[in-house]
């Protein structure tokens, strides 16, 4: 029986009305039900783990929050940490909305970083006003190319994109390692897997304020806005979302489904590739470093960006504050470790818990939404 409807049975009429009123009151909050549930659940799981390690959860969380947001420097560090998450997250929004699961963020970040690095090496002396945009665009092209391959394989050969993007990650890890041991390694006797200090003209300019905050934060916000316009304010985005919602109906309506799938992964990869360029040229070393494994360079952003995007309800704009939150967890994690001796890896585990709770509570959200008289707007598998 549809809720909110008057019941024929007078016995039931009164609670039904009350429920309807309650539903109306709660309707605006349904949208945040999922992230709120997930966040609370993750915090509780984290508190249980902290207790098990003999640490006081309140102290640990206080240190985490202070470390993340407690001062201008901490806020800047959090923002720097959040940039790749936001950029990858926007890419994830585009892919997931097209019902394409992009697990290849790590590889796309790396290819973007490689393309941007090679570009800066080739154009060492180009003035900064030109070289910075050039390396960002190169990053987008590199990542976009790495995303387009599994996109086309899915669209035209029916290859499961989850598997192909994971394999593309592995190829990218080895490619990075190869290049940094061979073609791109810093000349000299020291055999560390890193490039020379890249052109100063490609350094992402610091923003005023005396912190580590650089122009990458503006790039991330710009990409989020562009991602929003692409997805929700353009014919292309309409087509992508339509394909994500129902590929058969879209095909029937004359939309180019295969092209859309390829484009979605290419755009998604491009966003990740920009993250790669930002990681290189916004770093303090201004080098591409592969020492310590590829994950040390990507900071696992290819996966954590998925967490941010899901937490931001797969909306490019909301992904930005979500990334800031998760960036804060990552920066605050080390402060927590210092104060409580609980390793910062706790944060990675909690990110996993957040993902599970977000996708686990979507059903709850859809039920709430039906109950509150809205319609489910969630397309696709996400």
């Amino acid at each position: 029986m549809a809720l909110g409807q008057l019941s024929a049975d007078p016995e039931e009429a009164a609670p039904e009305l009350a429920a309807g009123r309650l539903a109306r009151l709660l309707r605006p909050f349904v949208g945040i039900a999922v992230p709120a549930t997930a966040a609370i659940a993750a915090l509780l799981v984290g508190a249980a783990m902290l207790l098990a390690f003999g640490a006081n959860p309140l102290v640990a969380y206080r240190e985490l929050v202070t470390g993340a947001f407690g001062s201008a420097d901490n806020l800047a560090d959090t923002a720097v940490r959040a940039m790749p998450l936001a950029l990858v997250g926007v890419g994830i929004c585009i892919a997931f909305r097209t019902d394409v699961i992009n697990i290849g963020g790590e590889g796309q970040i790396i290819l973007g970083a490689i393309a941007a690095t090679v570009t800066s090496m080739a154009f060492d002396d180009v003035p900064r006003a030109l070289l910075v945009p050039m390396v960002i665009v190169a990053g987008a092209i590199g990542g976009g190319f790495w995303g387009a391959i599994p996109g086309a394989l899915k669209a035209y050969a029916g290859v499961n994109e989850i598997l192909s993007t994971i394999m593309m990650n592995l190829v990218a890890f080895h490619l990075l390692s190869f290049l940094l041991q061979d073609l791109l390694i810093e000349p000299g006797d020291i055999k560390i897997q890193q490039t020379r200090r890249l052109s100063e003209n490609a350094d992402l300019p610091l923003l005023p304020g005396g912190t580590r905050l650089h122009v990458g934060v503006l790039i991330a916000i710009l990409v989020a806005v562009l991602g929003y316009l692409l997805l929700f304010r353009s014919a292309l985005g309409m087509r992508l979302r339509s394909v994500g919602h129902n590929p058969d109906a879209s095909q029937y309506a004359g939309m180019a489904v295969r092209k859309s799938i390829t484009q979605a992964l290419a755009f998604s990869g491009a966003c990740c590739g920009i993250a790669g360029a930002v990681l290189v040229f916004g770093s303090e070393s201004h080098r591409l470093i592969g020492e310590g494994g590829a994950a040390a360079f990507t900071q696992n952003a290819g996966f954590n960006g998925i967490v941010a995007a899901l937490f931001g309800a797969l909306h490019p704009i909301f992904t930005v504050p979500a990334s800031f939150l998760f960036g804060g967890m990552l920066t605050g994690g080390s402060d927590m470790q210092r104060a409580t001796q609980v390793p910062a890896a706790l944060v990675v585990a909690l990110n996993g818990v957040v993902v599970v709770f977000v996708v686990g509570s979507l059903r709850l959200r859809d039920r709430l939404r039906t109950w509150a008289g809205g319609i489910s707007s969630y397309g696709g598998r996400a």
Partner: protein, 310 residues
């Protein structure tokens, strides 16, 4: 290159390929059972890490490899219950919740390792069996009769899984709920119960695969599995959801890995070139996926949650 083509080197390479194939085979066989029931578990990597850590810490504390193996399987079973709850009860999207399991396993094992152990302490790991005369046979002995007991378990599971899937009621039910859950339900098969069982079995095997890995190398470190769990999921597609195909894929990956290692040890491929060679398995997987994708269909209800319409 001629150094490589000697009998002793080739035999050693193949033998270590069989050893390296073991974790792939165990986890991919488990994943096959889950996928046959219609559930994709992309979190194999995370479950393997948890199994690996459980085996490592148990073996370290008790000094018993057997206890380590049991702990790995127990940890896998626990993760199976969690994953069944997430996907079967809560209907969470399977591909993405698997990533959640992966991140959880990655972070959680790193957390426990740093907290409980800190600096890596090696353990007495798995030993090859000594089968007397058989193990001493030239060529054949080294190839087939000097492995650890878990390698034999893994390969013995290939026909067992085939038999269970194709010749038992349980297997019939698993395939039914993976292909047409509605029809299975009509016939009285409890779809979600069968799926939960398949998930738990698959996760126990993934945990065991991780345990095998840790006990084989005798050490634990952050991200010990380094992508092997993801490759295991791909191997299920590679093997077209058949245990023999999965075994072929696992052996291929094992032998390619051992060949790369061997060529590196012999100095035939030096320095950075070995990283190029290391790409081979991933590229091979993509090529195979292209070849098999159009020919063989996945279970029809793969990734589709089941709920009775009332």
């Amino acid at each position: 290159m001629s150094d490589f083509f000697t009998v002793s080197v080739l035999v050693a390479t193949l033998a270590s390929g069989i050893r390296l194939a073991t974790p792939f085979l165990l986890s991919a066989l488990g994943e096959t059972i889950g996928q046959r029931a219609g559930v994709l578990n992309l979190g194999v990597e995370g479950v393997m890490l948890i199994g690996a850590y459980a085996a490592y810490i148990t073996a370290l504390r008790t000094g018993s490899v057997v206890a380590g193996v049991l702990a790995a399987m127990g940890a896998g079973a626990l993760m199976g219950i969690v994953y069944a709850f997430i996907t079967v009860v809560m209907h969470a999207t399977q591909g993405i919740s698997g990533i959640g399991i992966f991140l959880f396993g990655l972070g959680f094992t790193d957390l426990l390792f740093r907290h409980q152990v800190g600096t890596p302490v090696p353990i007495d790991g798995l030993r090859g069996l000594d089968m007397g005369g058989l193990s001493d046979l030239p060529v054949v002995g080294e190839l087939f009769f000097q492995h650890s007991v878990l390698t034999y378990v893994a390969f013995a599971l290939v026909p067992v899984v085939w038999f269970a899937m194709n010749r038992t009621t349980f297997g019939l039910n698993v395939r039914a709920v993976g292909e047409t859950p509605e029809a299975a339900d009509t016939l009285g098969v409890r779809v979600n119960v069968v799926r939960t069982q398949a998930i738990i079995i698959g996760n126990v095997m993934a945990g065991l695969a991780g345990g095998t890995l840790a006990l084989d190398v005798g050490i634990f470190q952050q991200n010990l599995t380094s992508g092997q769990g993801f490759i295991a999921v791909a191997l299920v597609y590679f093997g077209a959801w058949r245990s023999s195909g999965v075994m072929a894929g696992a052996l291929l990956f094992g032998v390619v890995s051992s060949t790369v290692l061997q060529l590196k040890t012999l100095g035939i491929i030096v320095g950075a070139n070995s990283t190029i060679a290391a790409m081979a398995p991933a590229i091979l997987t993509i090529v195979v996926l292209v070849l098999v994708s159009r020919r063989i269909g996945a279970p029809s209800a793969l990734t589709v949650p089941f709920e009775r319409d009332n």
